[in-house]
Amino acid sequence: MMKGETIIFWLLAALTLGTALLAVTSRQIFRAAIYLLFSLLGVAGIYFWLHYEFVAAVQIVVYAGGIAVLIIFSVFLTQRSGEDLPKPSTGRMLVAGLATLSGLALVMFHVLKHAFPVSILEPSTATVADLGRRMLHTGEGGFALPFEVVSILLLAAMVGCIVIAMRVKNKNL
């Protein structure tokens, strides 16, 4: 008899991998974006399954709520509706499939061969308060410097987007 936890894990794995496969093979770009959304939600489910609720919430808010919506909007802005993507050539499909399958086999061979020193699982005690304290801690084990670097990166991305969008406006005038 399988435990409910195990069944949920395999359902989440099937959801994530199945919709990811559909997202990269679907010929209709809007459907591919929706499949990607479900795949990202499946990954969030895996984080929930691992008891990292905060990461799962961030995944849903940023990926499913932000990036997927951004991609869907850019599909609306750049694609004519009802048009399928051109079919990739069979040779390219064959080579890509062969390369990725052999890569997956190689990685899984090494993963299964390696004995990981897995410790006995205790329930996760990481609360959001712990994460916040560590995020702004400057000493040993703190992440204050990466936090500031990421904030500068986000600022740079914002400025970059504005610059890219402005250049077009001037050209059209």
């Binding site: 399988m2 195990t6 894990f9 794995a13 991998l17 997202a23 990269v24 093979t25 974006a33 795949s39 990954v43 691992l50 008891h51 990292y52 905060f54 990461v55 995944q59 940023v62 990926y63 990036i67 951004l70 991609i71 850019s74 599909v75 802005l77 750049t78 694609q79 993507l85 051109p86 990739p88 390219r92 499909m93 080579v95 890509a96 390369a99 990725t100 399958l101 890569g103 997956l104 990685v107 993963v111 990981f116 020193p117 897995v118 410790s119 699982l121 996760s124 990481a126 994460l131 560590r134 995020m135 992440f143 990166l153 986000l154 991305a157 970059g160 987007c161 890219i164 969008a165 077009v168």
Partner: protein, 104 residues
């Protein structure tokens, strides 16, 4: 079926990574290529979280790296889509084969 553990999560991470690589190699449309890159980034996040959970659960380094990857992915997606829409305005297409010239 056995209890899901670290190898199963690493399998999901590896499979998601190679699905993303497959999409990146076969797609010729910039938005679908960006979607493949998002899948690759997600697979890396799964690996970090799984290692954190099963090997170093008293530390939180994997969780923090995952959060930073998500932040960087958001910035990357925003800039990439700005470039894609700019390319569409100047070339009327977002096929990678059509974007051969550096400056239009």
């Amino acid at each position: 079926m056995t209890e899901p553990g670290l190898p199963h999560l690493l399998f999901i991470g590896a499979a998601l990574f190679f699905i993303g690589v497959f999409g990146f190699l076969t797609r010729r449309n910039l938005i679908t290529m960006l979607m493949s890159v998002e899948l690759v980034l997600n697979s890396v996040c799964i690996n970090f979280v799984a290692f954190n959970r099963y090997l170093w659960q008293e530390r939180l380094d994997g969780v923090f790296i995952t959060i930073f990857i998500i932040a960087i992915a958001a910035a990357e997606a925003a800039v990439a889509i700005a470039i894609i829409i700019h390319l569409y305005r100047s070339h009327r297409t977002i096929d990678v084969g059509a974007a051969e010239d550096m400056k239009h």
